[in-house]
Amino acid sequence: MHHVLMDRWSQGSSPLHSRDPRAKILALLVFLIVLATTAPDAFPALAIDALVLVAGILIAGLPPGSLLLRAMAVLPFSLTFGLISWLAGDRLRAMGLVEKSYLSTVAVLLIVGTTPLPLLLSGLEALGVPRLLVLVAQFLYRYLFVVSEQAQHLRLAGACRQGTESRWRLGFRAGAGALAVLFARSYYRAEGIHRAMMARAFSGKFALLRRLQFGMADGLFTVVISAFLIVVRIQ
C-alpha cells in the first residue's frame, strides 16, 4: 500500500531515527531558515545543503530514489509560480522558487520519514506549538490515509469497469464524479475511525508508549548540524 510508506520508513532504527524529535525539528527549522535566506544563485551553498540532505537520507537508510521522487510532488506548484516569475523577467526568483521548494520538501520528508508521527507531533507540542494545531495535524494525517485508501479502492473499481472506451476520456469523466464520491466515502470512513477512537476512551491526545528524552547526543546533533548549515550560509 502506497499511503503507508512514510509510516513504514519512520519505524527504522538508524542514528537519525533514534534522535529525539525535538532535535530533528530544530535542525529542520535551521535548515529551512538558512535555505530561505540563501541567494538563488549561491549554487555552492545550495549544493552543500542538498548534500546534507542526501547524507541524511543515506544515514537513515531511506531509499533515495523513492524519497526524491516523492518530493517532486511540490514541483507542479513551484514550477507554476516559477514560470510566472520567469515570464515576468525575474529569472533568479524563478530558479530560487523551484530549488528552495524542492529542497525544503526533501528536508521535511526526511524528518517525517525518520520520525513516527505521534512522536513528531509530541515534539512539536513540547516545543510550544499550540495543542489545537497539533491535534488538527494528527487528524489530518490519519484522515489523509483514509482518503488515499478510498481513492485507491475507487480507482480499482473504475479500472475494473473501464471497458473499451478511451482511457483518458473515460478517466477524466469518471474521475470528476468519483471525486465527490471519494469525499463522501472518506467522510463516513473517517467517522467510523473517530467512533472507534472514542470507544477506546480517546480524549483528544495521542498518548505515547515512549517518553521523549532529549539526551546529550540529541543536543550535539542539533548544534553540529545547525552550526554547519549557518557556516555554509555565511561563507
Partner: protein, 245 residues
C-alpha cells in the same frame, strides 16, 4: 440482581429525519450473552452505539449502575468494549502493540503498564506473535482478533461485537467462536449468522424498524422470524422485503 446494561424507552432520530430507534427497552445481565438479530437498517448498530455513549438519544441507558451522560462517559467506555464491524476502522495505529495499548494509555496507565496490559490482551486473543507488525499486514481474521485484543486490554465488563463474522472465512469464524466462548465478559453480539449466534448465546432479541419486537431463546427467535439462510425461498424473500425500510 442489577443488570449490567439497562435501556429504557430509548428513541433516536438521525439528522435526515430517519427514526432509527423507537422506544427500545432492553437489559443485559452479568455473564449473559445476547444476540441481536434484525434486517439491515433495523436499528441494531444504532442501538449498540448508544451503549457506550457514542450516540445519545432520548431515554435512559444505564451501564453498571451508571447513567450514560457526559460526566460518566469515560467510565462507561471503560466498562463497555466495542468491537466494530470493520476492523480496519478500529486499527489505526502504526503497529499492533501501539494499537492495543491505545485504550490503556487513554485510561491513564503509564507506558510500561500499558505495554504489559496490551501484551496480556494479545496473548488472550492468541496474537502475541504479531505485536511488532503493522495492522494492515494482517489477515482479516488476525485483524479481528487484534481489534478484540484492543478492547480486552481495557478490561471491560461487557463486550459488544457488531457483525464479528464479517470478512472471516469458516476457520477464522470457528477460531473467533472459541475465543469469544472462553471470555468471561457479558456479551452483546449483532450478527446475521444464526449458527454462530446459537453456539454462543441462549438469548436473542429482534429489531424491526427501530423497535425491539422480540426477546427470547435464540432458537425460538430464529424460528419465529425464519431468520436462517437455507430458508430463503421466494416466500421468505417477500417477507424480508416487506420488513426492510
Amino acid at each position: 440482581m442489577t443488570p449490567l446494561i439497562e435501556v429504557r424507552d430509548l428513541f433516536y432520530q438521525y439528522e435526515d429525519g430517519t427514526k432509527a430507534l423507537d422506544g427500545v427497552n432492553f437489559t443485559l445481565n452479568a455473564g449473559e450473552t445476547v444476540v441481536v438479530f434484525g434486517a439491515n437498517g433495523s436499528g441494531k448498530t444504532t442501538f449498540v452505539l448508544h451503549l457506550n455513549g457514542i450516540l445519545r438519544g432520548q431515554g435512559s441507558v444505564t451501564v453498571c449502575g451508571m447513567q450514560v451522560n457526559k460526566d460518566t462517559l469515560a467510565r462507561v467506555r471503560s466498562k463497555v468494549g466495542m468491537v466494530f464491524q470493520d476492523s480496519d476502522e478500529q486499527l489505526f495505529m502504526p503497529t499492533v502493540l501501539e494499537d492495543v495499548a491505545f485504550g490503556p494509555l487513554n485510561q491513564g496507565l503509564p507506558p510500561d503498564e500499558a505495554i504489559g496490559t496490551a501484551k496480556t490482551a494479545l496473548e488472550q486473543a492468541g496474537m502475541q506473535h504479531v505485536l511488532g507488525k503493522a495492522p494492515y499486514h494482517l489477515s482479516a481474521g488476525e485483524k479481528r482478533r487484534v481489534a478484540l485484543a484492543g478492547v480486552l486490554a481495557m478490561q471491560p465488563e461487557i463486550l459488544v461485537l457488531d457483525e464479528p463474522t464479517t470478512f472471516l472465512d469458516p476457520p477464522a469464524q470457528r477460531n473467533l467462536l472459541d475465543l469469544l466462548a472462553s471470555l468471561p465478559q457479558a456479551k452483546l453480539i449483532v450478527t446475521h449468522h444464526t449458527r454462530f449466534a446459537a453456539a454462543l448465546a441462549t438469548r436473542a432479541v429482534f429489531f424491526e424498524k427501530g423497535k425491539l419486537v422480540a426477546d427470547g431463546p435464540v432458537d425460538e427467535i430464529v424460528q419465529r422470524f425464519n431468520w436462517i439462510y437455507p430458508a430463503l425461498d421466494a416466500a421468505d424473500l417477500r417477507y424480508s422485503a416487506q420488513r426492510r425500510f
